[in-house]
Assembly symmetry: D3
Homo-oligomer: 133 residues x 6
Amino acid sequence: MFTVEVRDHIMIAHSFRGAVFGPAQALHGATFVVDAAFIAETLDDNGIVIDIGRAHDALRAVLSPLNYRNLDDIPEFKGKNTTTEFLTKHIHDSLAKAARADELGRNGRKLKAIRVSISESHVARAHYEAPLW
Amino acid sequence: MFTVEVRDHIMIAHSFRGAVFGPAQALHGATFVVDAAFIAETLDDNGIVIDIGRAHDALRAVLSPLNYRNLDDIPEFKGKNTTTEFLTKHIHDSLAKAARADELGRNGRKLKAIRVSISESHVARAHYEAPLW
Amino acid sequence: MFTVEVRDHIMIAHSFRGAVFGPAQALHGATFVVDAAFIAETLDDNGIVIDIGRAHDALRAVLSPLNYRNLDDIPEFKGKNTTTEFLTKHIHDSLAKAARADELGRNGRKLKAIRVSISESHVARAHYEAPLW
Amino acid sequence: MFTVEVRDHIMIAHSFRGAVFGPAQALHGATFVVDAAFIAETLDDNGIVIDIGRAHDALRAVLSPLNYRNLDDIPEFKGKNTTTEFLTKHIHDSLAKAARADELGRNGRKLKAIRVSISESHVARAHYEAPLW
Amino acid sequence: MFTVEVRDHIMIAHSFRGAVFGPAQALHGATFVVDAAFIAETLDDNGIVIDIGRAHDALRAVLSPLNYRNLDDIPEFKGKNTTTEFLTKHIHDSLAKAARADELGRNGRKLKAIRVSISESHVARAHYEAPLW
Amino acid sequence: MFTVEVRDHIMIAHSFRGAVFGPAQALHGATFVVDAAFIAETLDDNGIVIDIGRAHDALRAVLSPLNYRNLDDIPEFKGKNTTTEFLTKHIHDSLAKAARADELGRNGRKLKAIRVSISESHVARAHYEAPLW
């Protein structure tokens, strides 16, 4: 199985609801360094999974609406805790939608899965991976 | 599949028995930078796999008895080579026990697997992953 | 010249005033991974600059009041942009005060300088260094 | 499942054919930092997957013929784009051949899979993983 | 002294002349991960050394003419070995020229020095630092 | 000022004497990832500070007698705490001796200083820098 993985980041504010979060219930923030991995069984005729530049652009397109935002103010996230693991799935689902719509420069059917990893610090990360089809 | 992964470290001495180890048969030591990854199919009502603070505490609890020790002196490791890969499983099994005993702040049945990664240097790592149930 | 350097992090929200900041004028946030470096000409009788555990504690003490906060709400920062470089000096000055008050486990006069580095992402950092005396 | 993973690197020149590559169609180059991961269900009697020193040697043996080369000049790669993902499989296949020939210091049947990861920069990586049998 | 430091990268081919380079006399290549550090005694009224976005743009502008190139073909480098340390100074001098021409969004006189670091792999780096005035 | 910096590592056991060390008074160990930086005002006719391969060899030569050892057993370190900062100076002094003896492939007088950095974990480092002449 082949994987191509690209990195970008966002800087956001948010707060959490639930006693489990302790001091993180207050409004705080994070730099999320995001890795998006595109997984395929075969390379295309050019010898790639998808073009790395295209992968960077796709990730940037998904991250831009979140960057420099207070996630508490984004209607789509209303009533949700925008935890690191929640966001891995949000980003995954947006990239998966682009893949299924053949927007990544390759027939989406040729891509098998997408994995999103987010480092919230040098000591904590989250991942989400799911098949596309 | 969702994963939350936290990092901590220990600084230990040990020696190995077996010609394959060459100079590492002598008493030497290592900093083991340990990543513990908790894997689940779903997030809980708070939007988390398990709380990251709790995950850090669980890892710390497993590592503390090993930290600043000569592993050759630990009865549980008698007759074993405490290689990096051996230790990934030791740490995994201790975390798995805690998970199965519902000690990680979530019904252990909701966790599917645990993966432990240890970096012994900037050029060598080991991993162990196994399902919990 | 000897240096001992320790790492910790904070997760904060803040906003900036000034057209130069573009979208970062909005409320957003950051993970700041902070390295505090203590610099001395000589080691003490134990063979250390200062104890690494003590250095970690000193850094933690300075960072705790900032962690999980909206920096816009901290009276001390009123009217200031809490940029990465601004915060390197804030953290430096707090550590320097502790050093000058002999609170780091060594005669502060034996320490020559403190350098604080903050990584705000995998592609941007700031540093502040100044002599103590 | 146990994994042992070692790191080395090569510095190569190459060019790509295909409009998708844009400016990378010109002769350029890369440092490829390569991680080779050897995966097994069990440890051997020494408590290892394979010896880490041996793993380093095996990876070095595969990388040496590529290091300091213009990959466009290597007959084996004639008519191929030596993309990062293409090279993960090339390195994988060479290591797999050594594993199947019992050249890694352990019965190759005891190894289940090999994964090769290549970082081409701080923001882009590729991986290839396949079972050995 | 305050420093703001940003990271970008280029992927280039080149060859070296001189027996000291051994196999690196052949045409090969490198990914150079470049950190550009801008150093000032004071922050401006916005609380910054220079804007981090502007710093990224300035570095990108200097790196773009080199990216995806065979450096042996660039007239400016004729008769030079484009070693990692040589390139740190080349990039430094280009950034210094922009700083002295007040092109970094701040009076260049307020900047004291520029440092350029290049990682050519996970085990080798070079740096060049010089005062601006 | 130009700098070339190379990385290697050792895995050692040791213990410390002195109440300040707490649990680190027991026999334990560390992986020390060591960066050796060679600093010069000018490049030589080849466009280098010193050859990076030669720098790697020089560092390896200094580290080899320490690797896979219990530092408590090394006569030269008798009565010393082999702390991370102590070892930065030990390695520095050995490299400086080689530089002054013209053993690094360049007239030692052309080198101005050497800096040694040791990472003992992902959260603690030490450095030692001194002029050569």
